[in-house]
Structures are given as C-alpha cells and as structure tokens.
Subunit: 220 residues, 2 copies
DNA sequence: TTTCCAAGTTAAGCATGCCTAACATAAAAG
DNA sequence: CTTTTATGTTAGGCATGCTTAACTTGGAAA
C-alpha cells in the first residue's frame, strides 16, 4: 500500500495524462499538487523504484499498470464518496469535494464496496465523471443532450445539472428530479420553450432556463 | 488542529483516565498505542507545550479542558461512524472498529453532524458506550438489566448484546431484535427460563442462553 | 551553431513521529 | 537507610515528505 501522499501523486498523474495525453512532466504534477518541482522529482524517483511509474530524467513520468490500478482505485473511492455524501447525507455540492479528498485515503476495499452497493452501483458521479468499478473498468460516457434538445415521448435519465448552486438543485429535488432519475418528455411548448416532463407518474413544467441546465441521456 | 497522531494520544489518555482515574502514566499510554515509552515522553512534552495536557516529569499526564475537548470530539466521531457503518452500510461488528479508527481523523464537524442527524442522534454506540453530543456532553448511562431480569409486562429498549459473534447478532436481527429496538416482556416460562417478548406486535420466544446476553434499559 | 533561459534535478535542511540505547529517578526490598 | 529494580526520560538516528538554494539540461532564439 502506498502512502496518502503517493496516492495523491498517482491520482494527479492519471488525471493529467487524461487531459494532456502522453507523458506527464514533473512540474505539471507539482503545479497540480501545489508543491515544489523539487519534491516532485524526488517522489518520481521513489515511485519509479517501487514500480508505480516509468520515469526518465527530464522526460516526465508515465504510470505503469500497477500505478494506474492504484490511481483508479483512489478515483473510484473519491467519486463514490461524493455521490454518497450528496445522496445519502445531504451535503452540499460545494462541501463534498474536500470531504471526499480526505475519505478516499481512509476507506477499505470492503467499505467502498458496501457504499457502491448501497448506491446501487452508480456509473457516474454528480459532476458526470465516470466511476471505475471494482475491477478498475471505466464506464463509457453516454451521449448527453440538454433537456431542451430531448425528444417528446422518449424516456431519459437525468445525468448532470450544469450548475452547482444549491438553489437550482434544491428546486429540482423538490420536483423529484434527482440525479439518475428516469423521466419522460411529455410535451414541449413552443411559445416559451418550456417543457413538461413526467416523473414517477407526475407531470412537471420546467422553464427554458432550467431545462437547458439539465443534461440527460436517452434510455432504450 | 492537532495531527492524527496527537488526536490518538489525547483519545488514549482520556480513556485511560476513565478506566484508572487520576493522572495517566506515559507508559500506560505507550502500552495502549503500542509504541515505546520514549515516543510517549517526547509527545507528552509537545502536547503540554501546546496546552492539551499538564505534564510533570515522572508524574504522568492529565488532560486540560482543551485536550479533553479534542478527545471527546474524536470519540464522538469514532462512535457515530461505528453506528453508521453497522446500521446504514451493514458492516459487521468485527469490521467497524478498524474502519472507524481511520475515519474519525478525517471527518469534518459538518459531516459528523450530518451523520448524527441521519442516525437520529443516538446516545450510545453498538458496544453500549455513550456518544458525546456536539457540545461534548456525555449522555448518562441508563440502568441496564439482562433480559433474564426484566419484569413481565414492562417495556424495554434493547441496549447492547454482550457477544460480538455475528451468529447471535444475525439471529436476533432476523427476529427484528435490533439495537435500540423497543420491546415488551410478555411472559417468562419458569420451567426453562425462556422468555417471550413482543416486537412490533409479534411475539418471539428467546432461550435463557440468548436472553442473558441481551442487555435492556427500562422505558417509562 | 552557439548562447541563454526556462524546466527540471540534486543537495542540504527541517518538522513529524517513530525507534534503540544509555541514563535518571522513585519507590519497594533488603 | 541504602540498594535494587522497574518506570520514565533524554540523546541520537532514521524514514517520510516537504522546503530553499544551487546546479544541470534541452531546446528555442539569435
């Protein structure tokens, strides 16, 4: 088991690689972790020696399979905790990140699997990021459309709300428009672009402003 | 904020004081934390300097109000996590301690209060230990009797099961005899000392062996 | 092609928190 | 009382993970 510090390096390297591709420079990692380049170079040497990454001086780092596995494990824990804190304990969108940042390093495999099960194995976190499963497999991102572009008569799953303000979230929650909730598009009113959706048999009208912030994926 | 290590010292000192009273020797702490006396002496000096405890060479340590407050905070977090892991996530009795041991140092005030609320402010953990409230106040332990000593016709709350084996717990759980569950004593059969209790309107017979392990507190 | 500078590395130092080994003290045994 | 022993403390070391300061290096500008 790597230390908390090492887990954070591996996680950062993984995500920098996703964003920029190819090998990641030590200074990119330093920037991300808000530490000095010096610390990063030193750690790169250690992590390479322990088989978590390939490192050639002046040429950046690249995760090995072993390192990637750890990174995905930490990311899985982070995202599951985020979903859990929001959906089960009612923390606010703005609070969960920092909280999950600490919990992700202090959660056993057994515990995170219980949480996964309790949440019914979600595939994406509240930001729409994929949650790796127990084996480290990453769910494919579905095609998303905003509610404005959805087709009348079809069924969708609420995937993401493009606004972290709790006001909008609370409004939608009152209408039972939770994350992952299945809905049906009943009607689109062309005169004001509002949309009528059905949730658990109940119809709600959503204004254009609200509808454009709600991303949904189509259900077969 | 003290470090994780310091939190553990303060927690240990608090509980040793409860058990043995008066001032706590550095070697008692060392024993409890499974580290050397040397490390403990050194830490005692640091904690004293930071105002968490009083320390006189060769005379042991004693928590200050400031130290006691931290200790109670950590104990609160530990016990609430234990209850939460068991009741909400279904971890087993044997798993929760180690898990809570890590989580207790990585949980914000806000998060633990949400957990407290979600559990409906429990006063005692699954082992029967009191859970300090947000202000650090410790609930008074109720008078406990084993089910064998309970009085026919009266109502009780299940407080503790004096057996950590999951077999007994699972058996009781099947009968809806959860922790904190309210029950009524219907009848005691003198020929085999078995007891008939009512749970949510349903009667169950418990053998003497089982009944003696279940501690209950009387309800007014 | 050479120069120069930003990016990257090494070296030395510090805080934390542990260890072992050597030393000090209190209190019990003689 | 004095001696012994168990209990407790100090000193010196080590691993981790960070810092600053001094140094390399690779590649773009001249």
């Amino acid at each position: 088991m790597p230390t908390i510090s090492k887990e954070n390096y591996l996680k950062s390297i993984y995500s920098l690689n996703l964003t920029y591709g190819e090998s990641v420079s030590t200074s990119q990692v330093a920037m991300k972790l808000e530490i000095t380049n010096a610390a990063t170079s030193e750690m790169a040497r250690k992590l390479a020696k322990q088989g978590y990454l390939h490192y050639e001086k002046y040429k950046g780092v690249e995760l090995t399979e072993k390192g990637r596995k750890i990174a995905l494990q930490i990311i899985r824990r982070h995202r599951l905790w985020e979903v859990f804190l929001i959906k089960v304990l009612g923390l606010s969108w703005s609070e969960v990140h920092d909280e999950a940042e600490k919990l992700e390093h202090n959660t056993s495999e057994e515990l995170i699997n219980k949480i996964d099960k309790h949440l019914n194995y979600p595939e994406f976190d509240p930001h729409g990021h994929p949650i790796p499963n127990e084996k480290g497999e990453i769910p494919q991102m579905p095609v998303l459309v905003s509610l404005l572009e959805a087709t009348v008569g079809k069924n969708y799953k609420i995937f993401r709300v493009a606004d972290e303000s709790s006001e909008l979230i609370e409004y939608l929650t009152k209408l039972n428009l939770f994350l992952y909730q299945d809905i049906k598009i009943i009607e689109k009113l062309s005169f004001d672009n509002s949309i009528i959706v059905q949730v658990n048999g109940t119809n709600h009208s959503l204004s254009e402003k609200v509808a454009e912030k709600v991303s949904v994926s189509i259900l077969k």
